[in-house]
């Protein structure tokens, strides 16, 4: 296809992505380097019959002029990145000097909002992703052994947790594990503790969120692996059987190596998706126990005071996090590309 024709075919989608993805990224980076103007204050002295009083008022005119001259706000450089709500290097340094052991040092650091959210986001990503891959693989192997008639029905129900809106899915689970819900009752019965409540316990809330993450994404892994199982070379399997391989050995040495590219694919997609974990925290009403990076951005943007600069800074840090997660894949793709051309 000629460059010219390609250009016209590709123009609409390129425009959409440039204006609404690329440009906002640039704008987010710029916003993170500026802080809004503070109102210009003037001190005036009112002298009356009872003496003089000093009062401070906002000089509306000067404030308006200032924000017209520099609409982005005051250039702050990396100031916002280093403040207490984000990277907080000075607080970490302080904690390092004053704390009397590694334990208390980490406790102080994890109390800082950004590191608190980062620790949850990373735990969620790296706990859920491997577990959902294992669960998905197990379901795929089990479904593959079923007869054709039941398969369709099983696949239908298996798809539901993934297809359903994340907020809706997390609400449905949350209502069940609520201390008055059916699973909450069951758990407190099993633990023999009538006051056991998920909302009061940070570790339980984390576990519940992990369970949601695995529940909602295992079907994706299942479907991909199930499709992969249909393409396992039958003659390799047969020769493995003739050589006396047990069932487990067949899976270990024939099926899993065959599915390895799919495992990489699922892991990549799920790392990206789990890193943006957000809706379950809203649905579980879990912000007292677990915050994610996306949730912090949402929280800064919402409400009456839209803290755009703070949100933009967290956004840039999140994008950097995604870039670091993706970098092994990108480097590999680039090497393949260079090798092939």
């Amino acid at each position: 296809m000629k460059h010219r024709t390609f250009f016209w075919f590709f123009l609409p989608t390129a425009l959409a992505m440039l204006v609404f993805i690329a440009a906002p990224i640039v704008s987010v980076v710029i916003q993170s380097l500026f802080v809004p103007h503070e109102a210009v204050l003037v001190e005036t002295e009112n002298c009356g019959p009872f003496g003089c009083t000093k009062s401070t008022v906002i000089d509306q005119e000067a404030t308006a002029l200032l924000s017209e001259e520099q609409p982005l706000g005051r250039f702050a450089g990396l100031e916002i990145y280093l403040d207490r709500g984000h990277l907080a290097f000075s607080d970490i340094g302080e904690a390092w000097r004053t704390s009397d052991g590694l334990g208390s040092f980490f406790a102080t650091v994890l109390d800082l909002p950004f590191y608190d959210a980062l620790s949850f986001t990373l735990s969620y990503t790296f706990v859920c992703t491997p577990l959902l891959i294992i669960l998905g693989f197990a379901i795929a192997v089990a479904v593959n052994s079923l007869s054709r008639q039941i398969k369709g029905l099983v696949i239908f129900f298996s798809l539901l947790p993934m297809i359903v809106t994340p907020l809706v899915g997390s609400l449905i689970l949350f209502w069940m594990i609520d201390s008055r819900g059916v699973l909450g009752n069951l758990i407190s019965y099993l633990a023999n503790d009538p006051d056991l409540s998920l909302k009061a316990s940070t570790p339980l809330m984390w576990i519940a969120l992990f369970v949601y993450g695995i529940w909602s994404s295992a079907p994706f892994a299942f479907v991909v692996f199930y499709a992969g199982l249909q393409t396992v070379p039958q003659d390799t399997l047969e020769s493995a059987q003739i050589d006396g391989a047990t069932r487990w050995q067949q899976i270990r040495y024939v099926v899993i190596p065959h599915l390895m590219p799919l495992v990489t694919f699922v892991a990549l997609i799920q790392l990206m998706d789990n890193f943006r974990v957000f809706e379950p925290i809203v649905g579980f009403n879990a912000q007292a126990h677990a915050k994610s990076l996306s949730w912090i951005i949402y929280n800064d943007l919402g409400g009456e005071t839209r803290q755009l600069s703070a949100a933009a800074t967290t956004s840039v840090l999140t994008i950097l996090g995604v870039a670091i997660l993706l970098s092994p894949v990108l480097i590999r793709t680039w090497r393949d590309f260079r090798g092939s051309s």
Binding site: M1, K2, T5, F6, F9, F10, P12, T13, A16, M17, V19, F20, I21, A22, I25, V28, Q31, I139, S145, F156, F157, S158, L159, L160, I163, T165, L167, V168, L171, I172, L173, W175, M176, R180, V182, W215, P219, F220, V223, V224, G228, E238, P261, L262, F265, R276, F278, V282, L293, I297, Y298, L301, A311, S315, V316, T318, I319, V322, L326, L330
Partner: protein, 292 residues
């Protein structure tokens, strides 16, 4: 073949038990919530006895029968959830149509051009796909406020279309690569322009791939919470942000059942979607994967 060696009974029982456990895990929450949405709050969130949620003891006392549609009436009539349903329909319809139109053109071009930049465009799309949409929102807000675009449905639609594009392009690119190049090349030899070749040769055969991609565009638009909750004002909310808004008010006012009914209502279209398009969804999920 596996059939030549009999599966031992213990293994078969183990597999079936595991599958039943998984099906319970996958389907039971939905059945439970649908059942519970026809009860009063004290039954669905029962302090006294969890079996109340099944038998509906307190529902019987309050309404004379084990079922009540009060939750649905509260959500759809009193809180006018139908407005949000209409908004969701509008958003989904236009997002799917627009993103398929521009996505097919782009995906077709990507699949038929052998130049180096195709690789870079696809990698860029992958990076865009990886970014959490909410990180872009603080970039949208200042211009939208300034030009008075914030809060309206068309704004949200265009943003969702753009966020949708990277995924749509990847998917359609792989579908178009499966359509033999000879088809449109022979049309070119016969004197068609590239666009005519696309119009008269490719469009008639591309529908399976386009429908599958459309399903996923629909799901993205329907399931979105981060973008719609930030970009739509109170009157234009779609269903999902409205459910989140219900949560804020209902926990205090004690009518959680409105939210339960709204959640069940929002699940029904997805349920039907899986029922009718299961095959397409499965093939779509694996389309990207099988290539590796």
């Amino acid at each position: 073949m596996a059939a030549t060696r009999r599966t031992p009974l213990s293994l078969r029982i183990g597999l079936v038990a595991f599958l039943i456990a998984w099906l319970l895990l996958a389907a039971f929450p939905f059945l439970w919530t649908v059942w519970g949405s026809f009860k009063v709050e004290l039954d669905f969130f029962s302090i006294a006895n969890w079996t109340d949620a099944i038998t509906g003891e307190r529902t019987r006392i309050a309404h004379g029968g084990p079922y009540t549609s009060d939750g649905y009436a509260g959500a759809w009539v009193i809180n006018e959830f139908w407005r949000n349903a209409i908004n969701t329909f509008i958003v989904c319809f236009f997002v799917v149509c627009t993103s398929l139109t521009i996505g097919t053109l782009g995906g077709y071009a990507l699949s038929r051009s052998g130049h180096n930049y195709v690789f870079w465009l696809l990698i860029t799309a992958l990076i865009f796909r990886a970014m959490p949409p909410i990180t872009l929102v603080s970039g949208y807000l200042p211009p939208f406020f300034q030009w008075n675009l914030w809060g309206y449905l068309p704004t949200a639609i265009i943003v969702l279309v753009a966020i949708n594009q990277p995924f749509t392009l990847w998917m359609l690119h792989s579908f178009f690569q499966k359509i033999p190049k000879d088809l449109d090349e022979s049309a070119r030899v016969d004197g068609c322009t590239q666009f005519q070749a696309f119009r008269y040769v490719i469009i008639p055969v591309m529908w399976p791939g386009v429908i599958t991609t459309g399903l996923f565009s629909f799901l993205l638009a329907y399931n979105d919470f981060a973008v719609t909750t930030m970009l739509l004002n109170q009157d234009n909310r779609t269903m999902i942000p409205q459910i989140a808004a219900f949560l804020g008010t209902t926990y205090t006012e004690g009518n959680v059942m409105y939210a339960v009914a709204a959640v069940v209502s929002a699940t029904v279209p997805l349920f039907l979607l899986v029922m009718f398009f299961q095959r397409q969804i499965v093939s779509g999920l694996t389309a990207g994967a099988v290539k590796g």
